[in-house]
């Protein structure tokens, strides 16, 4: 530019008006080009920013879609979508209404962007009747309801007020005639300038429209998935149930070809037959007739019934185990036939009855032993009975003797008692008697001495009487004394 001006000045100085005019034209042209360039650059930057926003939006939508694919529950889907709408699409508030068949209303099931507890509590209780005329355009196929700030529409305004927004979009999710949910996004008047504005322009609706479409198909897929999942779950449960029975049954369950090759078997079959696994049974036993049956002819005999379509029940047979030992098994066999009537395979339930057989044998042996013991005992008892009789007689005799002895002993006892009594009495008498006797002896000695004295006195008296003529002195002695003196 500076050069241009210098050139122009030079031209003026040189007095070359044509050249000067040409330079001015060139200058104007260049200036115009620069201005155009600056404007174009501004436009470019603006498009670039918009492109960046759109690109980011698509990238985020793609990421969100992947996240959505991993979500299988509606509440998760709504929660993720609410986050996406707030954080990525830039709307201030979002509400999901799910249809409640019982009340025939759409009720808020997820929300975001309400950051005051009282606000979220209020909108959380919001419901819309399925029959609300507001929703009729959606049922008729409208992509969404649009309420712009300041626009008058009684129904839409009422819902705006209830949702605490001044502008919003309402999308049906799922099929239009019977949406399973509704999606509302919007902004409050205060926050609208800082959020993605609600607009009816195609560009503005692109992001949220894409999301609503994505959510609709996800929800439909989810519903389909849920029903498929339910059916699969039922099938899985049934399969698991029968698989459980098959795997955990105590009885062996297996299929064999008519030729005697195992097709399948459960673990119990392997265990009964002494193999490590069902696979080992299948690979090892290629001819059950010869490899299993202790008496191969028994299997051949079974085929008479089986070929006629008659199942076999409770057939007891001995099988060889892997280790060569024999096991008793009880077989129930059902034949399966091809539509053409050819025997296809045999479904067999095998019960290991070896223990039962052993027990039965033991019981039989025990019975025999018992019977023998009864006989022996009877015999012993008869013998004992005779001895008993003999003994009884002896006992009777002994008893009689005993009674007599007892009687005698009783008598002796009585006598002993009397003796004892008498001894006691005698003892009681003997003492005083001893005393008396002892004193009597002493008294005797005294009496003897007195007698001697009396004799001496008598002699003295006699002597004296004789000497004095008086013989009556003896008369003065009491009679009782005389006795003792005598």
């Amino acid at each position: 530019m500076e050069n241009d001006r210098q050139n122009m000045r030079s031209a003026e100085v040189a007095g070359q008006p044509e050249e000067l005019a040409a330079l001015r034209r060139e200058n104007d042209s260049l200036s115009g080009q620069v201005k155009e360039l600056v404007r174009a650059e501004g436009t470019l930057y603006r498009y670039q920013e918009q492109l960046d926003v759109q690109l980011r939006e698509y990238q985020e939508l793609y990421q969100f879609n992947r996240k959505l694919s991993a979500s299988q529950e509606l509440p998760d889907i709504f929660a993720h979508a609410a986050q996406f709408i707030i954080n990525n699409l830039g709307y201030e508030r979002v509400l999901f209404f799910s249809f409640d068949a019982e009340t025939d209303r759409y009720a808020v099931c997820a929300l975001d962007g309400y950051y005051r507890a009282e606000d979220s509590a209020a909108v959380g209780a919001l419901t819309i009747a399925r029959t609300d005329p507001l929703l009729a355009p959606l049922y008729a196929g409208e992509a969404c309801l649009i309420h712009l700030s300041g626009r008058r529409h009684q129904g839409l305004e009422g819902l705006a007020s209830a949702m605490m927004v001044s502008e919003y979009l309402l999308y049906p999710l799922g099929s239009h005639d019977r949406p399973v949910a509704l999606l509302a996004v919007g902004n409050s008047p205060d926050q609208a300038p800082f959020c993605r504005r609600v607009s009816d322009s195609e560009m503005s609706l692109l992001g949220i429209g894409n999301l609503a479409g994505l959510l609709s198909s996800t929800i439909e897929n989810q519903i389909l998935f849920a029903s498929t999942k339910k059916a699969l779950e039922q099938e899985r449960l049934a399969e698991a149930k029968y698989r459980g029975i098959f795997e955990n049954a105590v009885e062996g369950i297996f299929q064999t070809t008519p030729q005697g090759r195992f097709l399948s078997c459960n673990p119990a079959t392997a265990e009964i037959l002494g193999y490590g696994s069902p696979e080992e049974v299948i690979s090892s036993l290629t001819d059950v007739t010869s490899q299993l049956y202790v008496i191969p002819e028994q299997r051949k005999a079974l085929f008479k019934d089986l070929l006629q379509g008659r199942p076999v029940k409770g057939f007891e047979v001995r099988f060889y185990r892997k280790d060569g030992r024999e096991r008793w098994v009880r077989l129930s066999i059902r034949p399966s036939f091809e539509p053409e009537g050819e025997l296809l395979h045999l479904d067999v339930i095998m019960e290991d009855i070896s223990d039962r057989k052993q027990v039965e044998k033991a019981i039989r042996k025990l019975n025999e032993e018992l019977e023998q013991r009864v006989v022996d005992r009877t015999r012993a008892l008869e013998s004992a009975n005779a001895e008993l009789k003999q003994l009884s007689q002896e006992l009777e005799s002994a008893y009689t003797d005993l009674k007599q002895t007892h009687s005698r002993m009783l008598q002796q006892e009585k006598m002993a008692s009397i003796g004892q009594l008498a001894a006691g009495v005698a003892h009681e008498i003997n003492n005083p008697m001893g005393f008396i006797i002892s004193n009597l002896n002493t008294l005797g000695k005294y009496a003897q001495k007195l007698t001697g004295f009396i004799g001496l006195q008598g002699e003295a008296i006699e002597t004296l009487s004789r000497e004095n003529g008086r013989s009556d002195v003896a008369k003065d002695i009491p009679t009782s004394w005389r006795i003792w003196i005598i």
């Binding site: 530019m1 500076e2 001006r5 200036s31 620069v34 201005k35 600056v38 404007r39 650059e41 501004g42 436009t43 930057y45 603006r46 670039q48 920013e49 960046d52 980011r56 707030i86 954080n87 830039g90 201030e92 975001d112 962007g113 950051y115 926050q191 300038p193 800082f194 959020c195």
Partner: protein
Amino acid sequence: MGTLAGVGHSTNRNPSAAGKEAAAKALERAGIATPDFVLVFATVGYDQQQLIDAIREATARAPLCGCSGEGIITRESFAETNFGVCVMVMASDEIRFEGACVKGIDRHAGAAGERLGTALKPLLAPDTGACFLFADGLSFNFDPFLASFQQSLGREEPLPIFGGLAADNWALQKTYQYFNEEVFSEGMVSFLMSGSAEIAWGINHGCVRVGSKRTITRCEGNIIREIDGVPALDALKEYLDADWMTQWNKSSLNLCLGFKTPEHIRQGYEDHVIRYMPGKNDQEGYVTIQSEVAEGTELWIMRRNKELISSGMAAISHQLKEKLAQRKPKFILHFECVGRGKVVFRESEKGELISAMQRELGSEAPWIGFYSYGEIGPISSHNCFHNFTAVVAAVY
């Protein structure tokens, strides 16, 4: 202890949750529970009071300063969104942070500067090394502010001022300033940094001239009424998009005014200082800028140049690395013009540009900043106002 600092951010749409999350991350990274000082930058989609309340609660009500921006800048995020917040917490036994605020600038930036200077003067200490300023980007006029501020502060050597003007994501309606628990508009918040810390910084704009020299032929204060004798808007509209009348906030970004860098700072800077035109008057045909201008001032219409911006960022890194000389910064503040963000760079380009600078300056220092409506940073010991510029200041 030294200085422990940590930065956390959140883009959660819930203001309480966002504030709590950003503060919790910052505290965790700083390894502290109770900070001495909290710096906050957030965008305007949030309920600002709810946001600040949550941060205050999470940071033990430590002194807080900050403002709204068009976007936030941290090591992990350069989010130009309506819902983003970043928080830096600091605890230090070597640096002190003391702040003040002024409300109601109301186009009287000179008076506001005087009030702020008066409020900060008692907090000045011999070891005060820098002043950080965050002012309303819609009602700020730097030149009268600076004159009265420096005068009322009364320092012989001007205190270096760093900062940015609060933004509101192009709404051009209301920006916010934060001071402790208060959230207000049309004000300014500032804090002084004292103690044993130094500051290194780099400033670069990356704009080029378009066309020839113009002259301001009529103006008053920060209003440019005529350029080359025609209404300013008439002189400019040829360069603007077709919808410039209704989309001025974005259209005006593609065009800025360049004034010859004053002689006293020319040595440390580029040829032009750049001015954004945040306001216009269609009837009277004038535009407003964020500093004073005088009649007869030469100006050039300028445009951003991506290559120059990129090389300018690299130049800032080199400049800072040279000044730091192997010393590790305690934290880094970054004030980036809104005109240098997503309106000119694609997301990936912008991310790579800032990340490259962050990598260059080391991956450890806490890094916080915002996209502003104007940047403040000294050139050759003169405090200057900038537009379309990046100001990066490393405290070490």
